[in-house]
Subunit: 438 residues, 2 copies
C-alpha cells in the first residue's frame, strides 16, 4: 500500500489527536521565567488594568483642565510640587502646573501633559530653586486635552482576557503576565514521546566501534528534534533485532506516554524487528511516496499511539519534519511549522516523478539583490545515510510528485531549518541590520 | 547627542566584542542531548568514517565483481548465507549471491547490490528453504559496479572535520556527533547578563499592587528574551530610584558577568536613577533616532560592558531586538537574526520622518495568493507601554528614517517574532503541509 505525503500527514495528525491521554493530563504550574516556550493551559484574565492608572507618557508638566479650557495662546502657570513615578500626587489646582515624570500618576484635575522640551524654561527646577524665596513659574503652550496621558486600561482592562489558552509563552507574553502581577502560570503538559532505536548493528555512542556496527545517531537526533518542537522524551537503550526484546520493551511502557516512536526495522528486509514484533498488532506497515522516508509504520499499541520511522538518520529526520513536527504543532500547540520560502535552484536537479523528494541543502537569502528571492543549493546526494551533509544544511528542498527534471533557476519551495549559524542572514534592503552586520 | 540606529548597533556590537572575559571563559563539556542549541567550542574531527565500512543501501543480493564483469543479460547465481546488519560476513564466492540487508557490511568480493524487488524470486528464502535439500538459486539482472553500495567514508572520512567551532548544535549536528561515537561535546559558555530593573514605581509581581505603582514586566521580558537568544541571566530584585542603592548593586557585581543591562532611569526626567548613579562614570547617555527606544545608555562599569535601556517594556524589547540580539548573535554565535520579509502594509501609516519607527503587528503569509508576499497589520498604537498589543503581535514592522506617510499596499520590511502560535502558517502552494493543515 502506497500513500501520498498528504495522506500520511493526515493519518499522523489523526493518530496524535487520538492520544486522548495528552488532553487529560493536568496542567503544570510554573514560575513565569520557567515557562518560556511553553503553551498556556487556560485563559488568563487581567487582575489589574494596564496601565493600572492614568499616567504620564512624558517627562513634562501636568496642566489643569480648567486652564486648558480657558487659556489662549500660551499658559503662565505656577510650578507645583513635582510628581515622581511611584507616588500618589496631590490634586492639581487650576493655575498651577506640576512637573511630572514618565509613568507617574496623573494628579486629579490634570487634563494633559506638556513635554519638558516645550516648556519655558525647558528644564525642571532644581531642588535649590524650590527652596528659594520666589514662587516659580513656567510658560507652556496651550495643548489639547488628553495629550500624553496614558489612560488607565488603555492597553488592557482589568477582567478582560490578557492571553488565551494555547498562546505560546515568549518574552512578550511572559512580560505581559508579569505586568499583570502574576508570578506563576499554568501551562499545558509536554507531549511525552518514548523513543526506541532498533538494530543489531546499532551501538551506543562512546567506546570503540565494533566491526560491522554503527553508532546510534537516531536517539540523539530525534530526542533533540522533539525537544525543539516542545515535546519531552523518554530514551531507551538501543534494542537488538530480537522481536521478543522489543515486545518486552513495549509491554513496559509506563503511564503518561503519548507516543511511542521507533526507528528502523520496518522495511522489506529479512530481519525487520519492528515488523516482526508487531505482526499480530493493528500497526500498519506502508510505503509513502516520499524519498527519503518511504517506509512508515503507524498504529496503536495497547491504546498508545505508535509511529515507526525508517532507520537511516536522514530518513528519520525527514519523517519527523514532514509528519510528526506539523502534527505536534497542532496537537501540542507549539509553533512547529517551518518558515517556507520560494528559492531559485542553483543547479539542475533530477527528481523521481512518482515521489515527493526532500533534499537537504543551503538556502541563501538574496532578497536584497535583483529578483528578491534566495537561492537553494543541494548538499550531498539523495542518500539517506548522508548525515554530515544534513548537518551542513540549513533547509529542506521540496520536489513534489511530478517534478522530474528541473533546471537551475527554477523556483522551488524550501523549509528553513534554523539551526545553522548565519543560515538566515538578514540582507533585506530596509533591514537595519544589514549595514551593521555585513 | 543623537545617533542613527546603525551607529548604535555598531556601538553595541563594539561594546560586546570588548567583553574579553567572555572569550576567556573555559568551554563547558556537556552530554550531547544537553547541548541542544549551544555553540560548539572547538572543531570536532571525526574519530570514525561515516559510513564506517562499505554497506548496502538496499535489501537485496550482494553480487561478486567477477560475475558482473563476465555476465551478460542476467545472472543465475547460487544463494549464499544471508548477511544481516551488524554481522561481519564471509567473503562472497564468484557464482553466488548473498542476501544482504540495508546497512549490512558488503562481503569481500561483492561489487554491487541488486534490490530484492529486481530479483527472481523477489522474496528472500525463508529459513526452512535454507534448510531444504536443494541448493537455492536466484536470477538477477546484470547491474553496474558499485550499485547500491555506500562506500566507507562517503559521507565523512575519519580524521576530517565533522563540525567546525561555532556551529550551533541542532538535532542534525548532535546526531552527527553521536554517529561519530561521541557522547559529550565541548560548547562555548553562555553569555552572562546581569539584569537590573529600576524605578520607585516598579513592584515585583505577586501580591496586591500599591497605589501609583506598576508590576515589573521588564525582568521577565528581558530574561526570557535573553535566554531565547542563548544567553544566561542573573536577576536582581527591583531597584528604587535611590542612586546609592544602584551604585551598591553595581559594586557587588560578581565575576563572570559579561554585560550589565538596566532598564529605566536614563531619560530626561528629574529622577533618572541610572543617569544619577553613573554621572561620574564613562557611561554615555544618548538619544537614538528610533521610536520606541530613543533614550539609550552605553559604556563600561569597572571594565564590565553596560547597556541601559528605557523603562517601558515595549521600548526595552525593541531595544533588545534592534541592538542587543544582533550583537549577541555575532559575539556568542547564536543565530539571533530575525527572519526578515517584505510585506504589504494593510493600512495607511504615518511615521515620523526623522526616526526609525518600529511598530508591532501581525504578519500574515499570503505567498500562496496572488502577489506572493504577505500582509502586515499594525497592532495597537505607537505607545511604548502597549505590552498587551506587543504580546498579540508576531512581527516588528520597520519604518526607517525618511518614511513619513505610507499608504496601504506599500511594501515594508518585517521581522518575524516567532512566538505566536500559527503566526507563520505555511500556505505556500508547493508546501506539503498546506492541504494537511488547512
Amino acid at each position: 500500500m502506497t500513500r501520498t505525503v498528504e495522506e500520511h500527514q493526515q493519518a499522523v495528525l489523526g493518530l496524535l489527536r487520538y492520544s486522548s491521554g495528552f488532553a487529560d493530563r493536568p496542567a503544570d504550574t510554573l514560575p513565569l521565567a520557567a515557562a518560556r516556550g511553553r503553551v498556556l493551559g487556560e485563559d488568563v484574565h487581567a487582575p489589574v488594568s494596564l496601565p493600572p492608572f492614568d499616567n504620564s507618557q512624558m517627562d513634562g508638566y501636568a496642566v489643569h483642565g480648567a486652564d486648558l479650557a480657558h487659556g489662549n495662546g500660551s499658559l503662565h502657570l505656577t510650578v507645583a510640587s513635582p510628581v515622581p513615578a511611584g507616588a500618589v500626587p496631590e490634586p492639581l489646582k487650576p493655575g498651577s502646573a506640576a512637573p511630572i515624570m514618565t509613568g507617574a500618576m496623573i494628579p486629579e484635575g490634570a487634563a494633559a501633559v506638556v513635554p519638558i522640551e516645550r516648556a519655558e524654561p525647558s528644564q525642571f527646577p532644581t531642588p535649590s530653586q524650590y527652596r528659594g524665596q520666589h514662587e516659580l513659574t513656567v510658560e507652556l503652550p496651550l495643548v489639547e486635552e488628553g495629550l500624553f496621558i496614558r489612560g488607565e486600561g488603555s492597553d488592557l482592562e482589568a477582567g478582560s482576557v490578557a492571553l488565551t489558552a494555547g498562546a505560546v509563552l515568549g518574552p512578550a507574553q511572559l512580560g505581559l503576565l508579569a505586568a499583570c502581577g502574576l508570578s506563576e502560570v499554568r501551562v499545558r503538559p509536554k507531549f511525552l514521546v518514548l523513543l526506541l532505536t532498533t538494530g543489531d548493528e546499532v551501538q551506543e555512542p562512546g567506546g570503540p566501534l565494533g566491526p560491522g556496527r554503527i553508532f546510534d545517531a537516531n536517539t540523539t537526533l530525534l530526542q533533540t528534534a522533539l525537544e525543539d518542537a516542545g515535546a519531552s522524551v523518554r530514551r531507551h537503550s538501543v534494542l537488538t533485532d530480537d522481536p521478543d526484546e522489543l515486545r518486552s520493551a513495549l509491554k513496559s511502557v509506563g503511564g503518561g506516554v503519548n507516543l511511542i516512536l521507533s526507528t528502523g526495522g520496518i522495511s522489506k528486509g529479512a530481519y525487520e524487528v519492528v515488523k516482526q514484533a508487531l505482526e499480530d498488532s493493528s500497526v500498519e506497515f506502508l510505503s509513502v511516496a516520499m524519498q527519503p522516508g518511504g517506509p512508515q509504520a503507524i498504529g496503536t499499541i495497547d491504546g498508545v499511539p505508535f509511529l515507526g520511522f525508517p532507520g537511516n538518520p536522514v530518513s528519520a529526520l525527514v519523517s519527523f519534519e514532514m509528519f510528526l513536527r506539523p502534527a505536534l504543532a497542532v496537537v501540542a500547540g507549539i509553533p512547529g511549522n517551518r518558515v517556507c520560502l520560494t528559492a531559485r535552484l542553483a543547479e539542475d536537479i533530477q527528481s523521481p516523478e512518482n515521489k515527493h523528494q526532500v533534499r537537504r541543502g543551503i538556502y541563501i537569502d538574496r532578497s536584497g539583490q535583483g529578483e528578491g528571492i534566495g537561492t537553494a543549493t543541494v548538499q550531498g546526494g539523495a542518500g539517506s545515510h548522508l548525515l554530515h551533509a544534513l548537518a551542513s544544511s540549513n533547509a529542506l528542498l521540496h520536489f513534489p510528485v511530478g517534478t522530474g527534471a528541473l533546471e537551475a533557476g527554477a523556483p522551488i519551495a524550501v523549509w528553513l531549518l534554523d539551526e545553522l549559524r548565519g543560515g538566515i542572514q538578514p540582507t533585506h534592503p530596509s533591514n537595519p541590520n544589514r549595514e551593521a552586520y555585513p
